[in-house]
């Protein structure tokens, strides 16, 4: 027969068989080799140990009859009798099943049909990965993430309520006092509580961690400021412009507080004549690590030197301190056209180049 002796061929087949069994035994994932009638030709050692069965009760037996029919699973029947004959291969097919010996398991099945030359029949390789623990861990992780979100929201809710309590108490005090000056200061303190709350809320909405996109953040913040501070009766518009950029949440918090301070200040002092169409523009631009925040109004402009004309001068101090924290410079330009306050962070200050 084609120059190869029967014995030589037998040896080769026996070697191939030994090799195949060796491979099957080596893989850590339980593997079954089935003939076309779904009878077990070989099983890996991992199969015996994972499913607590022995070779005597396995080899040569029908798959569905193994271990008192514990593999007679409807989804497995679909896989082996329908999907595999049609498609030849199936990977990542998950089956949840209650196994009498080992309890409820989630098994990830990989199946492949092997054809032989001459069409002498087919063999199915069935790999079974026990993914029960992995799925439990995934579910636990999802549950923890959900709990974290709930907790964060609950915390946010409590902070908002606490700030509401503080705001309420300050305002009740403001109404109770006789002194106009004291009332003014209490109302000012009340506004600051609101502005800190507005910044916190927008920061939370922009995502608690990581980089904050400044333009949408400031836009939302200004929307909220316009809603609470301007009202419908005053014809003042508040816009956010600029190329934008991103910042850390800590930087964004400082920027937000600066914007709030300066917008409140402009609303309080810039527009004496309510008939004129007032405008406040907040702009943020960033080039590399350098950025510039500016708050401009078209109001009455400079009066007595500083940008914050509040009685306490607290606004000026707050803006300067926040700018210092951001390693930025505060500059005020005021004229007949209004006031512009710029907060500039420049890593490389321009040097005067002199000709030699």
């Amino acid at each position: 027969m084609h120059g190869t002796s029967f014995r030589e061929q037998f040896t080769a087949v026996a070697d191939a068989w030994t090799l195949a069994q060796g491979i099957v035994d080596t893989v850590r994932e339980p593997v079954l080799v089935l003939d076309k009638n779904l009878r077990v030709i070989a099983a890996s050692r991992s199969f015996y140990s994972a499913f607590k069965v022995n070779p005597e009760d396995t080899n040569g037996k029908l798959l569905y009859a193994l271990g008192d029919g514990q593999w007679d699973i409807p989804k497995l029947r679909v896989l082996l009798e329908k999907i595999i004959p049609e498609q030849g291969v199936m990977e990542g097919y998950e089956v949840e099943h209650e196994f009498p010996g080992i309890g409820s398991r989630t098994i990830c099945l990989n199946a492949r049909q092997v054809f032989y030359e001459g069409g002498a029949g087919t063999t199915i390789l069935l790999g079974m990965e026990d993914v029960t623990e992995r799925r439990i861990l995934e579910r636990e992780k999802d549950e923890l993430l959900r709990q974290k979100d709930t907790l964060l929201e609950e915390l946010q809710h409590r902070i908002a309520n606490s700030l509401q309590i503080i705001a309420s108490i300050i305002l009740m005090k403001a109404r109770a006092v006789q002194s106009k000056e004291t009332r003014f200061h209490l109302e000012d303190a009340h506004k600051r509580v609101l502005s800190i709350a507005a910044v916190q809320k927008q920061l939370h909405a922009s995502g608690a961690t990581g980089a904050i996109e400044i333009t949408p953040y400031l836009s939302k913040l200004c929307e909220s400021l316009a809603h609470s501070m301007i009202g419908d009766t005053r014809p003042i518009s508040l816009k956010v412009l600029g190329e934008g950029g991103s910042a850390t949440s800590r930087q964004a918090e400082s920027l937000g507080l600066i914007v709030t301070e300066l917008v409140m200040n402009a609303l309080k002092h810039a527009f004496r004549n309510d008939k004129a169409k007032g405008q406040i523009i907040v702009a943020y631009d960033m080039i590399g690590t350098n950025w510039k925040l500016s708050i401009s109004d078209n109001g009455i402009g400079k009066r007595d030197g500083g940008f914050a004309q509040g009685k306490s001068g607290l606004g000026t101090g707050i803006v300067k301190a926040l700018a210092h924290q951001l390693d930025a410079q505060v500059e005020t330009l005021a004229g007949p056209g209004g006031t512009t306050v710029s907060i500039t962070h420049a890593t490389f200050p321009t040097k005067v180049v002199q000709a030699a």
Binding site: L163, Q164, A167, R175, L194, A197, H227, M229, G231, D232
Partner: protein
């Protein structure tokens, strides 16, 4: 007539004592008459016995059989002329009808009072 909102009657519903006092004093100071309720059931008893209530100012998350949004929906159905303003430390409930105004806590009294004035002067 209720063209001048100063006479209008407002129900303030809030389970937190300080917040309730704060909201009441805000409305009282603006010249309204105020009924204070600690939960939805108490608020509904006011509605049952006072035909001239023109505004409901309510918290959203409250203990008791009804939340603030349940109360608002109920009032909107039974007393459709009553204006509704809500405030919460949580985001605006999704299913809230647009006609119901909403404020994040801490709210700006000026903004709440402005809306209250508009709602109460639309009546009568």
């Amino acid at each position: 007539m209720t063209d001048i909102p100063a006479n209008a009657l407002i129900v303030v519903v809030e389970d937190d004592v300080f917040e309730r006092m704060g909201a009441s004093s805000m409305f009282l100071d603006a010249g309204y008459r105020v009924l204070e309720a600690g939960d939805a059931d108490e608020a509904l008893r006011f509605f049952d016995t006072n035909a001239d209530i023109s505004l409901l100012f309510t918290d959203v998350s409250m203990p008791g059989s009804m939340s603030g949004s349940d109360l608002a929906r109920h009032v909107a159905e039974r007393w459709p002329r009553v204006g509704i303003i809500m405030a919460s430390g949580r985001p605006r409930p999704h299913k809230l009808p647009l006609s119901m105004l909403f404020h994040d806590k801490p709210y700006a009294p000026a903004a709440v009072l402005r809306q209250a004035r508009e709602m109460t002067s639309q009546l009568g």
